[in-house]
């Protein structure tokens, strides 16, 4: 009895102002849908999704849509131990367990490798952790390993102190649920992270942990800007042009490169799509619009003379004469004409984003904005690189916004105008000389 536990119960507080990461669609499919479909290919016995009160209904709806037998539990208790305990209270306690992060994206090869290894793990009564080889420091758990077995997990050792090249990817196999449960109970009074303590105890008491060496692509959504790298990965999987039958491409428009264009999309004269690009259902590409290297969810409008470059639009994002570059925009957001995301510093330095009060260097020289759902941006407003705008906020017109905005705020400027009499008469001037220059 192999039970799969998919972890989606975190509060995503570092992901604010974006909404639940597990429900972010890429190429039209949410991570929930992707994971469930991927695991469904193999004959595993039982699915448990650990969610939270907010995302539970949406995850259940996805499960129903897919026709997969899976159960969603609201996580009780903190961290991975809380999540796994919640699952263990629900699953059939016979047999083995696989614990996977819902928002980790990896290639099918990982599942295939695991599936191949599974009979041996069962016969040898071994557990398994998954290592991902990194070339530079990653702030996660490092696996100390020898002869294919993990002897220790070192959390965030700091750059230069890495005990190995392998960081732990949350794809953990336990041959006995009972043993795991017992060890989690034992560790529950630990001041350190309970789950990691349980692993250490198990290793100490002779349980074997194989290290699955995974070498494929791996993407996760810790910070909002991670959406862009994950998007780029998915866009890279598009091969050729898949354009729905009902989509008409005017002879003045151009679709170049690898694209998926879904049903109901309307394309106007002069619009250009430079793949890789995904365009969701019922989107509109207005006259002379340009979309490149981007993922547009359903019902987006890229209006006249707007450009979307390397950006992620969740759904219902509306542009009109705008530039959205290297930006992540949640559902139901509008930009007034000539409102702009700035995505590059004058000094060409790395762009920082403030997350939970801490300024974090994204490592990116190109990053636009992170915009929550239900936001309105006034005409001509300039959003500085890395600025985040909270859900439900309105930004007035003609502003230069260089600070983050919390949810449900209205930001306006103090424009002072000076009104004087105008002494110049232009009624009689001939404009013919100007006309020459058009």
């Amino acid at each position: 009895m192999l039970s799969i536990v998919l972890l989606a119960g975190g509060s995503s507080s570092r992901f604010v102002p974006l909404t639940d990461k597990n429900l972010f669609p890429f190429l039209g499919k949410t991570l929930v849908e992707r994971q469930l479909q991927n695991f469904s290919k193999f004959s595993f016995d039982e699915f448990i999704v650990i969610g939270n009160p907010e995302n539970k209904p949406a995850i259940e709806a996805e499960i129903t849509k897919l026709g997969i037998k899976a159960k969603v539990m609201v996580q009780v208790g903190e961290g991975q131990s809380g999540a796994v305990n919640t699952a263990l209270a629900e699953v059939n306690m016979e047999g083995d367990l696989l614990v996977v992060n819902m928002n980790d994206v990896f290639e099918d090869s990982l599942l295939e490798k695991f599936n191949t290894l599974l009979p041996e793990l069962r016969s040898e009564k071994q557990n398994m952790l998954t290592g991902y080889k990194v070339s530079k420091y990653f702030p996660g758990g490092y696996l100390v390993h020898e002869n294919g077995f993990v002897s220790k997990v070192v959390e965030k050792p700091g750059a230069g102190n890495e005990p190995s090249d392998y960081v732990r990817l949350v794809f953990d196999y336990f041959h006995s649920k009972q043993e795991l449960l017992a060890n989690l109970k034992k560790a529950s009074s630990s001041k350190d992270d309970v789950y990691e303590t349980a692993l250490t105890n198990m290793m100490g008491s002779g349980s074997k942990f194989r290290m699955l060496d995974y070498e494929g692509a791996w993407f996760t959504l810790k910070y909002p800007w991670h959406v862009l790298a994950m998007m780029e990965y998915f866009l890279g999987t598009i091969k050729g042009q898949t354009i729905a039958d009902d989509v008409e491409v005017p002879d003045t428009a151009r679709i170049n490169g690898d694209v998926i264009i879904e049903s109901g999309v309307k394309i106007f004269d002069g619009a250009v799509v430079n793949g890789p690009v995904y365009i969701g259902k019922n989107c509109i590409l207005g006259n002379n619009a340009l979309v490149r290297g981007s993922n547009l969810g359903d019902n987006c409008v890229v209006g006249f003379s707007s450009e979307v470059a390397r950006s992620y639009f969740k759904s219902n994002v509306w542009l009109h004469m705008n530039y959205a570059g290297d930006s992540i925009i949640d559902n139901n957001v509008s930009f007034g004409s000539t409102a702009i995301t700035a995505n590059f510093r004058l000094d060409e330095a790395n762009i920082s984003v403030t997350v939970k009060g801490e300024k974090i260097d994204t490592g990116l020289t190109k990053l636009g904005n992170i915009i929550g759902p239900n936001v309105r941006i006034g005409v001509g407003t300039k959003l500085m690189p890395g600025v985040k705008i909270g859900a439900g906020s309105f930004i007035g017109s003609g502003l230069t916004l260089a600070q983050d905005v919390e949810a449900n705020k209205f930001v306006d400027g103090k424009t002072e105008l000076v009104v004087k009499d105008n002494k110049v008469d232009i009624t009689s001037k001939s404009r013919e000389h100007i006309k020459q220059n058009i």
Copy 2:
């Protein structure tokens, strides 16, 4: 002897900053020209146009151009009674009289209906008022009627108190000029409106007023934004594409839908016209310009990458990288690059316009700006929805204008700049990595 009196003598104060409404051209014809031509189709005997000192020369010029026999009088006295009295002092006092508002637009069917009814009116010695069936409250005169005859006119009864579904359209027939004159004289000491009092008196003394039930389209220009609805009506009458022989459409440009494009128009590569659209003589559509649902008078320039949507340009309006949406712009107006009309509120509420000190809900969620003649808008300036700009005013660059501007003003901002030393050296930076992303 049927005399037609066309009323065009009002001061149009609610129409400010736009100039005389009677001289506004739609599809290249002013309302004056349209009315005179429409009435010329029927064999009426005499035309009198009641104007004012400002519009008299222009109306006379139109009459001369058309080769119609008509006389323009400057209105003496206030209101419709003043206008009609002015006419009666001039016309042949034999026979009957038709009084019509110059800026009321109706279909030919009204004139045809009237023409059919005329012999009967004459033989029965009856007068006639015209009723227009409305489905919601309209702030005009309501006709109380029975068996096809009007018994009373109730001025602005207020919503909910309407005595009937019919509002009075100023298209009044009197079988005897003499009788009308006598009643106007009698009513001249009235504190109420003299013309309405005269009508009431006539009805009271046994004169019969037929109600002509008009069911076609009717548009009038009370407020500036009414230009848009009237424009939409006229644009709707364009069928197919009528493009002057001398107009060349580059193979990269597109003319879609129903359009009229007049002689001398120049169209550059990549320009798009999405009908219904009227484009007057010698207009220029620059590269990648977009015009849709709009009426451009003569000599307008829609420069590079500009969009005109659902807007009325009287003549000599010059754009360059702008958006003009749901706006009405009088003669000789220029927009600097990236100057923008905002036409939609962030909260999606109805847009109000201040007219003669009173804030009026236009009932429109999309409305841009109302701009008088000889106005200049600086580069990058944002005009908020519903803002009006008076004739001869200049608006500086980079401003956000959220207030109306009177005539002949110069509006500027107080920009305070901070100049510091720049410590960053970018001379040596390679820009190759950026180039990858273009």
Copy 3:
């Protein structure tokens, strides 16, 4: 032994913030390269270029590249006398001398005329000055002449006091270097300009100065905006379309008129070039870009929906959704999205530029900006007509810049924002009604 001395040693202080004028390329060739190539066509004996410490290495590099035998000397002493003395200290003192301004552009006919005249000048032992007929006052030296000989040079006589129609173009021939050197020495204690004093003395003591009457085109670079007139001249010399073999023009792009497009240029869908235009090596014309009447040096990027009109870009100028009109931009300059050069005053008056503290009327109604090398302009910033920006300066975002900026400054604005709670809920609003209008 005819020695040619090309003067390029001036400090170009009036040309600031632009860099050395002699090294400005037009149609891909610097003035240095052009002059050396032009003179190389004739069999002159010796080339001396008088430079300054800054431009010497670059001029030497050009000479090496051309494979011409020429020597570059750093000017010692002020003015033309300093420059010629520097040359005389280096040249073979046998024979004759021609002195020419490096940044004067004239047609081949001048060299041909001189070449034809040369045998006679030598046999008659005459010198030569060059007169250029002007129709309005020019602030230079006027030639008093009779029977083809110059009797006097009057420096800047002031409008109305011109002694003739001929101004002196610096293209001076001396049949004897020795005589010139002697006279320069004699005049060296003069309080007036030594060179002009020497000429006057020579004329006084019987030396003959022929006047070469030159009637072709002549352009010089005194002020920065003179670049535009010189550019227009060179653009006018382009005939037909010369497009490098490796340049692909998409079928949605258009190349109109006379153009030169160099190797490595990339052109995207919807781009338009309206000649006369020169586009240097490895430039990129993005989607829907427009270039007209302009000279783009190597490695420029005219990004999405940008227009370059009648402008000179030296090299590595990067646009993205901008308008650059009637502007001169030096090497390595970037514009953030929707940053704009304003090139026309609201009052349509002539545009003035401040040069060395003095406000100078350029005589132009259309003039954008003069921008030094290594400048960055933030998104949405508006540059007012005639404003100059010094080398290495950064201009922040969303500003309206109406003042000159010195080198190496960082200009920012004082934006005060007001953040309030937003009471409007738009999550539930249907956007369908808006979609109708796209």
